[in-house]
Symmetry: C2
Subunit: 517 residues, 2 copies
């Protein structure tokens, strides 16, 4: 296997994968320059492979509800009461994306990073809720990043919040991960009950617990699981419950367990002749935990769970980076930290924060534009803050490229992710995305084209005019000045892009998941 | 004079000036630590004075309507279509303030930086408009920063937008400036008429020109000035008109003239045995100009005057810094760049931008929190981004301290500015301000205390409860979650601070300006 892995790459990656319509246009327009870039990139990657004797390791960290304005490098951090020195250092020494996007909510983004596809295509486009229909989640027919990288010879592992399905066939150990230690949902239901004031109580009189929701008990019995359990899964061997997330302390502890195992995994695999892939879906900064040690984060006036968790997470990141350095593999490891969506203000003051308008669930910038940082010493030039568009699905495709299997990504379905290796290795202006669809559930909620964004307003258009407002995101980052004029000339291009997108769905229809399946 | 200037400073600056009530409390609480700090600061300043043989030069640059989100270092710049590499470099090599505040509008901030006092105290608390009452403006009885620094042996000069009074006795050359080249108002009225679409027209059918406002012509005749004129004033010699700001080209040209003269002034005074003070009230980024050379600023979809002016201003800053370096005086010169208030969205898309709620005129953060950068190689440690509170009046008091005349600031009136030398020279956490009054015209509109801010809602309070909402600015930077609970305990402290503030006004009443004066 090892000999195969260090085989020379073709000068230009040949893609058999199926892109969306807009990308083919872009490819045609940029063929010459991208081809040149690819040669240069391949040289860099080949030199690295020669040096380390294997493909680069990849670590994707998906944070929870962290808004564009929360980390210090995004003018949050100490200004929000929680300094984030390690995240800031990753930005300083790496690349901080000013226009990185996710899907607007939790499950959808987790599906997107795992499949490289908009969740609507996978048949599950909404946030899963404990005890909901068991057929919803990451369909086994989807090809996951862990499956792709396993086939490319990677060790694969995940930690944290899975949240893309409860059944054994939807579990991470059945979806390509060699090892997984995870919780199904957000856990720590105490969070939803206002953990701030209840921290030391064991019961809340009169409050509904989701255990009592209709169907939950039956569901748990049927699948032999606890919906608040955390499980250890091994590929080919199934899973076992290792604990339950029933209190803030459990959640704090689970985060500590995760980072401990992650560092051990890195220590163990550093010397392997195979590279590794880690998907760490950290619980930070879901409001449900409240690590005691961090409960007096600087500048916070009173106990704030969200702030405390962010502080804990920052220290965990520090342990992670230190482990990579100690093992001497930092320069062969791409680390990307990405938030899953914008903040959820319903939990204020235990909420994240965004400077942009909107929140989790919205296709407004506040819902979908998120902090994201890439760190790869020696490969990513330090201190870059590109404005190139990046989408969370790009993480899938970029991983495929780095692992040398760009030409083996699925070609029987549309992959929305774009290879962003050029952006990482060559810097600002080398991003390969000038368009983006922002899905709102099953439908397109907004479309981004260069600096313009058009929101699709459901039920509009009866006057004969398209039911749209166009925003110049560069001049109007908070989407306060939606106008038709002077952007009338953009309506046709937007509409034709949507038509082409929909046209391709005839050939590659969205998956339909249902009880009959 | 020179020998006097290098006389040793007392170990701890003795202040004869009159502070506001809250500051005396703060002083009492911090006496020991501030006294220690002052010793250290004095050592640093004495060493610098020994090296250069004079007090440090001071350059204050006041920008126009630039919001917290406009310069690159505030997540604007290229993300807003106008890279600001020089401003960003000043931040990188200096100190970028994350919580710097101005008055909510143009004339008030200009009064504040010149007097160190809230404009309400000076008798003029609103934006002056061409042809308004001639008694409104910077009263000759006010003691200006230029007067203070002139008496301390500084060369003093100003360029740009004066906008604190039209009459000869309110002119900069009568208010302490040796030299001044300035316009009274915003000039380039074309801006107000929608310059974007009118750039090449000379007349607009049916549009009101402020020349035609009632009283304007009589006013101009009475004072022998043009309200859109720009004038050169020399201390003791009066002023003469050097041109008129009647078109965007004039304004572009005037900015070019300003920076040229500023650099010549620096070249000339660099070798003087006296230090200099420059107050550059740049027209950037008032929307009225539109420098051709910069009209295609990167990322801007069409001609955008505001973007073009910001790009021009950035280059001017570069010239300024280069001149200081060429003259070998960069290390003896404090440069502070400060915006006068938040953006004015009425001019969108030729408007500035803030990530914070509110705009010019509001005491919401978007109106009063502004970008501000201090640059002083060798004295200010590079790369700092303190969250310490800073107010534009502090510029007055800090200048007094640096010039060695802290003990000679006025003691017959309240000075709102606080000496922030410790923040500059010792870094984050050494700011000397934990409170701030945000005036809205003649009245207090909001009060800041540490991380909390209380808005005063006019006409409220009839229910018996105070008419207030309290915001935790750290957790809620956009002031979206105003609450009484859990901040009920803060109402009394806020109210007592306001009561003390008002009590002191009995002894030091606000100046009253009027036609009889």
């Amino acid at each position: 296997m090892a000999t195969l892995l260090i085989a020379p790459m073709p000068a230009i990656p040949v893609s058999a994968q199926q892109h969306d319509a807009w990308y083919y246009e872009s490819l045609k327009r940029n063929k010459r320059s991208w081809s040149q870039e690819d040669k240069e990139i391949n040289k860099k990657l080949a030199a690295l492979e020669k040096r380390f004797g294997k493909k680069p390791n990849i670590i994707y960290i998906l944070a929870d509800d962290v808004g564009w304005g929360e980390p210090g490098c995004y003018m949050g951090g100490k200004l929000r009461g929680t300094p984030t020195p390690t995240l800031d250092r990753m930005a300083d020494k790496g690349m901080m994306f000013l226009q990185a996007y996710a899907e607007p909510s939790c499950t959808p983004t987790r599906l997107a990073i795992n499949t490289g596809r908009h969740p609507a295509r996978t048949g599950c486009n909404t946030v899963l809720w404990p005890g909901g229909p068991s057929y919803l989640g990451l369909a086994p027919e989807e090809r996951t990043i862990a499956e792709v990288l396993s086939d490319a010879g990677y060790h694969t592992a995940m930690w944290g919040k899975w949240h893309v399905g409860d059944t054994p066939e939807m579990a991470p150990e059945a979806q390509g991960y060699d090892y997984a230690h995870y919780g199904l949902y957000n856990g720590a239901v105490w969070g939803w009950l206002g953990v701030e004031h209840l921290y030391n109580r064991k019961e809340v009189a009169g409050s509904a617990h989701w255990y009592d929701f209709p169907g939950v008990k039956e569901y748990e019995e049927k699948y032999g699981i606890h919906l608040d359990g955390y499980m250890r899964g091994i590929k080919g061997k199934g899973r076992e419950e290792t604990g339950r997330l029933t209190s803030p302390e459990d959640m704090t502890k689970f985060e500590d367990i995760s980072i401990k195992e992650i560092c051990e995994f890195i220590d163990e695999k550093a010397g392997s002749d195979k590279p590794f892939f880690i998907y760490w879906a950290t619980y930070a900064q879901q409001i449900a935990s409240s690590p005691r040690k961090y409960r007096h984060a600087e500048g916070v006036d009173h106990v704030n769970n969200q702030a405390a968790q962010l502080a804990q997470h920052n220290d965990h990141l520090d342990q992670l980076l230190k482990t990579l350095e100690d093992e001497g593999i930092a320069e062969n490891t791409l680390v990307v930290w990405y938030s899953d969506n914008g903040p959820m203000y319903a939990f204020y003051p235990n909420a994240g924060f965004s400077y942009l308008r909107g929140e989790k669930g919205d296709v407004l910038e506040g819902g979908v534009r998120v902090p994201a940082i890439a760190y790869w010493p020696g490969m990513i030039k330090p201190g870059q803050k590109p404005i190139d568009l990046l989408h969370v699905t790009d993480m899938f495709t970029t991983a495929g490229r780095l692992a040398g299997v760009y030409d083996k990504l699925p070609d029987d379905r549309i992959i929305d992710g774009v290879d962003q290796t050029a952006l990482l290795l060559m810097g600002e202006g080398h991003g390969r995305r000038n368009m983006m669809f922002h899905y709102s559930g099953a439908n397109i909620g907004a479309v981004r084209m260069d600096q313009y964004k058009m929101h699709i307003i459901p039920g509009g258009g009866s006057s004969g005019l398209p039911s749209m407002k166009i925003y110049n995101i560069i001049r109007d980052p908070r989407e306060e000045h939606g106008k038709m004029y002077p952007y009338l000339y953009l309506v046709s291009p937007f509409q034709s892009k949507i038509a082409e997108h929909n046209e391709m769905k005839k050939k590659f229809p969205d998956r339909v998941l249902g009880p009959t399946k």
